[in-house]
Amino acid sequence: MSLRSLFEWMDALPSSIALRESLYAFPVLLTIHVVSLVMFAGLVVMMDLRLVGLAYRSTRFSQIQARLFPWQMVGMVFTTLTGLLLFYMQPMRYFGKVYYWLKLALIMLAGLNAIVFHLTTYRSVDQWDTTGPPFKAKVAGVLSIAMWACIVAFGRFAAYDWLTFE
C-alpha cells in the first residue's frame, strides 16, 4: 500500500468527511492549533534565549528549563492534537505539499535536537549552571529557535499552493 493510497483511504473515511463538511471544525481547530502553537513556541523560545545568553542571564538555566517544561508540554499537547485532526480531515490537501512535509521533518529534527541536548550536554548542567552554558548548549539553543521559526513559517506556507507535487 503506497502512502498516497493510505491518504486516499483516510480521506474517504466517514469521520474525515464529516469533519471536512462541518462549517465550524476547520476554523475552530485551526485557531486552537495556531494559538496553542504560539504559546508553546513562545515558552520554548524564552528558554532557548536563556540558553543562548540573550535573556534571563541571572537565572540558572536548569531552573528555567524545569519550571517552563510542564507549560511547554501543555501547549504541545493542544497544538499536536488539533494538528492531527486538521491533517485527518484533509489528508489530500497536504499530501502533495512540500512545505507540509518539510514542516513535519523539522518537527522531528527539533524533537531530536531537544532529546540529544538532554542526554548529552544537559547531563553536566551542574557544572555550567552558574558560569553559563557551554558552546554546545548555545548551538542547541540557536538550532531550536531556527527550527521552530521555520516550523511556524512552513505551516503557514502550507496553506498556499506553493511547491506542490502530484
Binding site: 485551526l30 504560539v38 504559546m39 513562545g42 515558552l43 523560545v45 524564552m46 534565549l49 541571572s58 519550571r67
Partner: protein, 158 residues
C-alpha cells in the same frame, strides 16, 4: 466613521507592492506570526509567575523586568508587520467585524499591560497580595489570547 480614512489608505496605493506580489503578503504575515511567538513567550512567563506557577523561585518583578525588552521589541515588530497588512487591503479590513474586534481588544490589552499589569508586576508582592496578581495574570492571558484569536479569524472570514 473611519471609512474615509480606510478609503484614503486604499487610494494611497502604498499596499500595491504587497498585493501585486504573490509572496509579499504571506511573508509579512509569517513575520507577524513569529513576532507573536515572542509576544506570547514574554507575556506567559510573567503571567504564569503572577498565577504562582512557572518561575516561582524568582520574584515577580525580576521575571517581569527580564521579559520587558522582549515584549516591547516583539510588539514593535507586530506593529511594523501589521500596518502593511492593513494598508495592502484596507477596504477588506474595514468591512471585517473581526478586524474591529481585534483592534478594540488590542487597545484594551495594551492599556492594561502598560498600566495595571506593569504596576502590579513591579510592586512589592507582600503589598499587592496573591489575589490581585492572579486576577491580573488571568486577565492578561485572556485578553492577549482573544487578540490572537480575532487576528486568525480576520484571515479565515472575509
Amino acid at each position: 466613521m473611519l471609512l474615509p480614512l480606510f478609503e484614503w489608505f486604499d487610494a494611497l496605493r502604498v499596499g500595491d507592492w504587497i498585493s501585486n506580489s504573490s509572496y509579499a503578503a504571506p511573508v509579512i504575515n509569517v513575520m507577524h506570526l513569529l513576532a507573536l511567538v515572542v509576544v506570547f513567550g514574554s507575556l506567559l512567563i510573567v503571567d504564569l509567575r503572577l498565577l504562582g506557577r512557572g518561575m516561582t523561585e524568582q520574584p515577580v518583578a525580576s521575571v517581569a523586568r527580564a521579559a520587558r525588552p522582549w515584549l516591547i521589541g516583539a510588539l514593535i515588530c507586530m506593529l511594523l508587520t501589521g500596518l502593511p497588512q492593513i494598508l495592502s487591503l484596507p477596504i477588506r479590513q474595514y468591512y471585517s467585524p473581526f478586524f474591529w474586534m481585534k483592534m478594540r481588544l488590542l487597545l484594551v490589552a495594551l492599556i492594561f499591560t502598560f498600566t495595571l499589569r506593569h504596576k502590579v508586576t513591579l510592586a512589592d508582592e507582600a503589598r499587592v497580595g496573591p489575589v490581585w496578581g492572579k486576577v491580573v495574570g488571568l486577565t492578561s492571558i485572556a485578553l492577549w489570547t482573544l487578540v490572537a484569536v480575532e487576528g486568525r479569524l480576520i484571515g479565515l472570514f472575509s
